[in-house]
């Protein structure tokens, strides 16, 4: 970014933040269509088709519908908490993109602690979720929020551990450094360790996003829609958008950690495009898992995390450390 050096850093930050936010909102709207179309294909359906050619205007119609819908607040709800919850839920979900470098030097803030920033900010999501579940004063919503706490605390740990494997291989928590370290070999191609870490990342990611088979907190047959059951209109849209932002953010993180971020054939300005394509691939993987499996039980969810994923990721970390020490020539 040579041309921007004359501008004040605050202005640059505002502009790049605005651009990322705008592009992201558009991407998120169309990702919902992608998921619906993909799910429809898997189930031999057509999916959204009526609004615009091949249903391409469906996200816009959805947005208009949600904007115009009435805001309902339950009488017994804790009004302040209920109204604040979608915002508290939405902000961290969008903020996770702040540390994402979309190409060398192109991003809002390429922090030294990029990966940690992502993990820290996305862990704030649970506060908004719990506020929604509690503030609604609805038993379904509250049970859903309690289950969410259970699940998110269980899967935070393996998720962090799986994300730490690329961090260790690259020797940095800065996302652009991790991307540069993969120029020779993407970390997913790293023998054994890479693939196992990627699988652990995907499983923990699906659980962190509360998607099937880990969707006990919005299990429709038991809890209707879980913590968001009382929300309507734009507040519902905020929760929905936040959830998709989290999924896409996790996909971008997966692409940055394991798939070489912006690396790809062609000129370097194609970098952001490659990065987005890879992130969408990871997203499709999440979607594929979601529409292929059945919901599993609470105890199974917890035992997968504590008895399988956590020991596996801990061993992976250990193995990574051993590999690094051996490669650097023992002694240190």
């Amino acid at each position: 970014m040579t041309g921007t050096s004359a501008m004040s850093p605050l202005l640059v930050a505002l502009i790049s933040g605005g651009v990322v936010l705008g592009a992201l909102t558009g991407l998120l709207a169309y990702v919902t269509l992608l998921e619906r179309k993909f799910a429809a294909r898997m189930q031999s359906r057509v999916g959204p088709y009526r609004v615009g050619p091949h249903g391409l205007l469906q996200p816009i119609a959805d947005g208009v519908k949600l904007l115009l819908k009435e805001h309902l607040v339950p009488d017994a709800a804790d009004k302040g908490v209920f109204n604040l919850a979608p915002v508290i839920f939405f902000i961290p979900c969008m903020l996770i993109f702040a540390s994402m470098p979309f190409a060398p030097g192109l991003g809002v803030a390429d922090l030294n602690i990029g990966v940690l920033f992502f993990l820290a900010v996305s862990s704030m999501e649970i506060v908004g979720l719990f506020m929604a579940g509690w503030g609604s004063n609805n038993k379904y919503a509250l049970i859903s929020a309690m289950r969410a706490v259970n699940q998110i605390i269980s899967y935070d740990l393996p998720f962090v551990m799986a994300a730490l494997v690329p961090v260790m291989l690259a020797g940095s928590m800065k996302l652009s450094d991790i991307a540069t370290a993969q120029q020779g070999l993407w970390f997913i191609a790293y023998p054994v360790i890479g693939q196992l870490a990627f699988i652990a990342f995907i499983v923990a990611g699906v659980a962190a996003e509360n998607r099937t088979p880990f969707d006990i907190l919005e299990a429709e047959s038991e809890l209707i829609a879980g913590f968001r059951v009382e929300y309507s209109g734009m507040k519902f849209a905020f929760i929905q958008l936040g959830e998709y932002a989290h999924v896409i953010g996790t996909s971008f993180l997966g692409a940055a950690l394991f798939l070489g971020a912006w690396a790809g054939p062609g000129p370097s300005w194609l970098g952001p495009l490659w990065f987005t394509i890879k992130a969408l691939l990871v997203f499709v993987l999440f979607t594929w898992v979601r529409w292929s499996f059945l919901r599993i039980k609470v105890d199974q969810i917890l035992s997968i995390s504590w008895k399988l994923l956590l020991p596996l990721t801990l061993l992976l970390l250990l193995a990574t450390a051993v590999v690094i020490v051996i490669r650097s020539g023992a002694g240190v």
């Binding site: 804790d78 602690i113 940690l116 820290a120 649970i126 506060v127």
Partner: protein
């Protein structure tokens, strides 16, 4: 007044305000949320002081931690739906006097220690140095803490085991 001082005052006022709300709010759930706000505010102060790592860890650990506290508060009091949990702060006056006394003492110590030099510029990667010194200079305390946490974990599993 530069940006850093402004950020400090905004964060500080927010922090003290939410901390007061933690103890003064009647609704137990609200005070837990104010606690979360106070912890995030603390993270903001860390970040304003260039301790980004500490700030991120603060958010990462306490956001989950605070919510666990809520769950325990609800589970232990066994009122899932219906009646609101209420917090009754007795002896507010005595507590306030003690708090002001402690504040005066801390302020006095800080004033006497004569810390008035400007904050040094951060040039090195503080996270990297923290990692290196944790595994070299402070290895023993670090390992001891690990053992302590492991003991805590084992004790928790022991108490939570199903009755035979």
């Amino acid at each position: 007044m530069n940006g850093e001082v402004l950020a400090f005052w905004v964060l500080a006022v927010g922090l003290v305000g939410s901390a007061l709300n933690v103890v003064l709010s009647k609704n137990l759930f609200h005070s837990v949320l104010w606690l979360a706000a106070a912890l995030v505010g603390t993270a903001g102060i860390f970040i304003a002081l260039d301790a980004e790592f500490l700030g991120a860890v603060q958010v990462l650990l306490y956001a989950g931690g605070v919510i666990t506290v809520v769950v325990f508060a609800i589970v232990v009091t066994e009122r899932l739906v219906g009646e609101r949990l209420s917090q009754t702060s007795r002896r507010i006056l005595g507590g306030a006097v003690v708090a002001v006394g402690v504040l005066a003492m801390v302020l006095n110590v800080i004033r006497r220690s004569g810390i008035d030099m400007p904050r040094p510029e951060m040039t090195a990667d503080i996270t990297k140095w923290m990692g290196i010194s944790l595994l070299t200079q402070f290895l023993l305390p670090f390992e001891l803490l690990g053992v302590l946490l492991l003991a805590g974990l084992l004790a928790a599993t022991y108490f939570a085991r199903p009755e035979e």
